[in-house]
Amino acid sequence: MNHTFRSGAAWALVALLALGGHAAAQQLRLPPDLPYAKAEGSPGKVIFSHQLHVAVSEKCTACHVSLFRMLAPTRTVTHAEMEAGKSCGACHNDRMAFGPADPAGCARCHVGEGRSSGEPRAGYPRAGGRETPTHTSERRPS
């Protein structure tokens, strides 16, 4: 019994290491989470996660540099901009990705202090009509 447990644990460790190695191969050196300034009446601070967003587009140019600067990042985004289809609203417009009309959407961006927004949550919608690429080192142009 004890022996089975041990070998089971060993296999779990091997599997974990293999998975870890695989994850390391996919690791991208991305900028840290970007906290945006909290505006008056905001339900919570927006903390932007690159980790979460690179899963949606294989190109950094989907957002950079037409929507967001990258060397000197924008520190403020407004709902007015967003609703005009600029800034976050270029994708978060209720068509490509959840937007201001989605009542459950608020809390997905306004995560507030102390919460990691880097963890992909269940049911995270993919951008409409776009392929969902993987960031593996094996990926090569076809």
Binding site: L28, R29, L30, V54, E58, K59, C60, T61, H64, V65, S66, R69, M70, L71, A72, H135, S137, R139, R140, P141
Partner: protein, 253 residues
């Protein structure tokens, strides 16, 4: 320190962060052209088996610098090949001369200038990596001292020889460049020129041009000498003829 960019195509995932950073740094229009243009100074080209970045190679002995009749181009000791638009007369010799086809002209403007990657000289001077190298999420584009980058590239070749073509592109090509490239596919497959000489390209014309002053001076002296001799010969003949004519005249009297 002489700066150099090391591009390892085996690490590139084609995300184009470098392109976006370049656009932002140099205040270029956000639209990305598929090839190098005056408004897109670097591109990530998908090839058969890998991605390859196109950008100025920042040659150690650049052809653009040597051909420019007004010295609008210059090679900085710390790596970059810079361009001064205020000197440019728009002759576009640089465009014809560049072995990598890098300098591009603003064909859509009334008063166009030449444009190309300038390796973010202000960032390098401030001790930072160029914009493209600073944002690369995979470490495919890195920046550092050229000698150290060559060592780093050779370390990678030695560590995983099966992964790479056993050569660092840019160490010797056209006398060396400040952009070094590692690849798993052959360099020709990546669209890199493999027919380039090891010697700097300006040496080709220098071998001829350096002899021109000698040819002018020696040739000029020679031609002057021939002229002096023939001229004197005719003068002497004329004088003799005159003398002979004078004698016969006096005899007739």
């Amino acid at each position: 320190m002489k700066g150099a960019i090391l591009f390892d195509s085996t690490k590139c995932i084609g995300c184009e962060a470098c392109v976006a950073a370049c656009k932002e740094k140099n205040n270029l229009p956000a639209a990305i052209d598929p090839k190098l243009t005056a408004y897109t100074w670097t591109v990530v080209e998908p090839r058969n088996t890998a991605f390859i970045r196109r950008m100025c190679m920042h040659c150690e002995t650049p052809t653009c610098v040597s051909v420019c009749p007004v010295q609008a181009f210059r090679k900085e000791p710390n790596g970059p090949v810079l361009y001064d638009a205020s000197r440019c007369i728009g002759c576009r010799y640089c465009i014809m001369a560049c072995p990598f086809g890098v300098p591009k002209y603003q064909w859509d403007r009334a008063v166009p200038i030449v444009q190309k990657c300038i390796m973010c000289p202000d960032r390098i001077a401030a001790g930072k990596a160029p914009a493209c190298a600073s944002v690369c999420p995979t470490g495919a584009t890195t920046f550092g001292d050229r000698d150290q980058m060559i060592r780093e590239a050779r370390t990678r070749l030695a560590a995983t020889p099966k992964k790479y073509v056993p050569q660092v592109y840019g160490v010797e090509e056209v006398g060396g460049t400040s952009v070094l490239i590692l690849s798993s596919a052959s360099f020709a497959d990546l669209g890199l020129r493999t027919d380039l000489p090891r010697a700097p390209l300006p040496m080709l014309t220098w071998q001829v041009l350096s002899k021109i002053p000698d040819v002018v001076v020696v040739g000029g002296a020679l031609l002057y000498g021939i002229w002096w001799i023939t001229n004197r010969r005719t003068k002497v003949q004329e004088a003799l003829a005159e003398e002979a004519a004078g004698k016969s005249e006096s005899r007739q009297r």
